[in-house]
């Protein structure tokens, strides 16, 4: 059930990329896609009654949650930020050249 809600979250981002005309809304949609995929990966690694994967000095930690999806998602978050920075740089450049963020206008004014 939670997985399905996570995929609905994914579909909201997908809708934002496919339908919206404003370039900033498309970038926001891609960011939503990024959040949903990271959340889905961490959801697959959760164990009922588990603890965070860090050893403690005073007590014995027996059942940890799965640390591998967390390790993958840690780099994925920073990569998502880098891709967002590149997209915003391109969007700022497009605004300087065409004067608008509307993608239908940008397609018409070629050059």
């Amino acid at each position: 059930m939670i997985y399905f809600l996570c995929l609905v979250f994914f579909c909201v981002g997908l809708y934002g990329i496919l339908v919206k005309r404003n370039l900033i809304k498309i970038i926001i949609g891609m960011s939503i896609l990024d959040y949903s995929v990271n959340l889905f990966l961490v959801l697959t690694g959760y164990r009922m009654g588990g603890r965070a994967p860090i050893y403690d000095k005073t007590q014995e930690v027996k059942n940890m949650v799965d640390p591998i999806p967390q390790a993958l998602v840690l780099t994925a978050i920073v990569i998502g930020l880098a891709v967002l920075a590149l997209m915003i740089a391109i969007a700022v450049r497009l605004y300087e050249k065409y004067g608008t963020y509307d993608i239908t206008e940008i397609r018409k004014l070629r050059g």
């Binding site: 995929l7 960011s31 939503i32 978050i77 915003i88």
Partner: protein, 184 residues
């Protein structure tokens, strides 16, 4: 008064509904600053979800990355003209996107049966890493020992991805003086 204990699934479902509503608001609202603030709220919701799912490393990283993402988005949308006149609404695009999303959801609901149940993962490789981790690496943070010792290649390539992204930004945002000199 007796305390009501909620399982993690009960804690996560309202949070996910909040995130879905927040993202729909972020996409549909006309004012740019409000939609940027809404995406900020969605990011903080993801941080709280990471805390509920017992991943403190990710929660710290997601929070500070969300702050930086907000700063960059505000930079892109401030002082830019955002008024779009209401032209013809493209029905074909909306209908085809909704059909695609509906088909995707139907097939994914059938495909999600194959995943193990939420809360009982198959931890074959992870149990090896956990049982031998503190003896072979000496680090008590399991996630740090995985990303820097067991799977160090991923971190190396990720550092090069970040370098490439910064390089791409500095190339795209170059000054345009040279192009104007070439044209004249």
């Amino acid at each position: 008064m007796e305390y009501i204990t909620l399982t993690e699934a009960d804690q996560l479902i309202p949070l996910m509904v909040f995130m879905i509503i927040g993202s729909i608001v972020a996409l549909e609202i006309k004012d740019m600053l409000s939609s940027v603030i809404a995406i900020g709220a969605v990011g903080v919701g993801v941080t709280i979800s990471f805390l509920i799912l017992k991943a403190p490393d990710l929660a710290i990283t997601q929070l500070v990355v969300e702050i930086l993402c907000l700063i960059l988005l505000v930079r892109a949308t401030i002082k830019r003209e955002m008024y779009f006149p209401r032209k013809h609404v493209d029905y074909l695009r909306i209908i085809s996107a909704l059909v695609l999303i509906f088909v995707f959801l139907v097939f994914s609901y059938a495909a999600l049966r194959g995943l193990p149940q939420f809360g009982m993962p198959i931890m074959k490789v992870a149990s090896e890493y956990i049982s031998r981790g503190i003896r072979e690496t000496g680090a008590t943070n399991m996630v740090a020992s995985i990303i820097l010792d067991y799977r160090g290649y991923d971190t190396l390539i990720e550092a090069s991805i970040l370098f490439t992204a910064v390089l791409g930004v500095s190339v795209v945002l170059r000054a345009v003086g040279r192009i104007r000199n070439e044209k004249s």
